[in-house]
Symmetry: C2
């Protein structure tokens, strides 16, 4: 793929500078040469067409010929999910979530999760790849929050939906209108083991809708993709 990610800090005065992995990929893998065309996305809605001007060991300088800037899609879907213990499943969930439209992902440690270290570098790398793969120019921000409460306080949204396994009178169908009319909707998926009663009560107090993802018992990463798939 001929798309490269360069943060805005490295785009100045009509030039973009590829560094680190992007530079290596361009020069060694794609064998870019002076005069070659390539496309750059800056993670904040900018897409640039450029021409390679200078290649050094550690960087590739690109002269920008054309640029377009786009707004992020509305409504923005923010995914809040409990940290999944197994790394490959967690990475799968993050990658799929971004492909399916998550603009931001908050990973939280829950009452039910064991304290695990998370390889954020890998998740950030996955976010960059998923952005390129989906031909998008907005980079999904992936953050870890020490607790669910902290995440709920920090992440500002005007609508909250919680995927909940228990079927009772508070569970219902998804109110698509509420999502469509919002600026930012938080989609909450429980950690393995689900949300605790206290956590569910906290959500309801914050005005969240509890929704069911069907009768099947789903793994956490499957619930993530199933939930986001409802808004395609």
């Amino acid at each position: 793929m001929n798309i490269f990610y360069v943060p805005p800090a490295q785009i100045n005065n009509g030039f973009a500078e590829l560094l680190d992995q992007e530079a290596i990929h361009a020069s060694k893998v794609m064998r870019a040469r002076e005069g070659d065309k390539l496309t750059i996305v800056d993670g904040v809605g900018g897409r640039y067409e450029g021409i390679v001007r200078r290649i050094t060991k550690k960087s590739v300088q690109v002269e920008i010929k054309d640029e377009q800037h786009s707004l992020p899609p509305k409504p923005q879907l923010v995914l809040g999910m409990g940290i999944i213990k197994k790394r490959d499943r967690l990475e799968f969930a993050v990658e799929k979530a971004i492909e399916l439209g998550a603009a931001q992902i908050g990973l939280f440690r829950s009452e039910h999760t064991i304290k695990e270290n998370v390889r954020m570098d890998r998740l950030e790398s996955i976010a960059v790849s998923a952005m390129k793969q989906s031909l998008q120019s907005h980079l999904c921000n992936v953050e870890i929050y020490h607790s669910l409460d902290i995440m709920l306080d920090v992440v500002t949204v005007d609508n909250i939906l919680v995927a909940h396994e228990k079927v009772d009178e508070t569970n219902g169908d998804i109110d698509y209108k509420s999502v469509h009319n919002s600026d930012r909707t938080l989609l909450l998926v429980g950690p393995e083991g689900g949300f605790s009663e206290d956590e569910i009560e906290e959500f309801v107090n914050r005005g969240a809708d509890l929704v069911s993802l069907g009768p099947n018992r789903l793994r956490a990463e499957t619930a993530v993709v199933a939930f986001l798939s409802q808004f395609l």
Copy 2:
């Protein structure tokens, strides 16, 4: 998990016999002892409660105390998908598809796929695990077909939906009624690279509906989970 898979052939005269991996898991991992209770599913709707009677090196004999038989859910969702080259992505797709309700999976080689060997033993193992994980008693049948045409001839369904990226006047929303009223609906997801024009024409000739999974560009395994998630 205290659920074991025993095919009907090994369930006779009020006794079930665990063999191979199931026997090893019961005796060595779960440390089952004579008199222990366990649950068995037979892959065709039967769920049995039993008591361990005899443990040998290679088998575990269980006396059946109670049994229930259930019909498969209607409508049955049959997933047809092009073979995904990378094994871990293919295995994720199969595992998620079964969790999300696929009763049968047909993998086909398409005009666009390179001839790959598929580890069917791993996929069958995944199908058994997914059945247990979802607390189901029907085992999803996973088959490989040498071509899409062969699969379409062999798999009998009364409704076909095809996930198609191209947006034109034939793409539409999903006709949930047609799915709900069917006995068996085939959900077709293209291989990496999508379906060819000829393949699309073949589907339309067979009366299939072309449906869109939204504007995002999705990897094949993501399209699989997104498509199945529409029917939760």
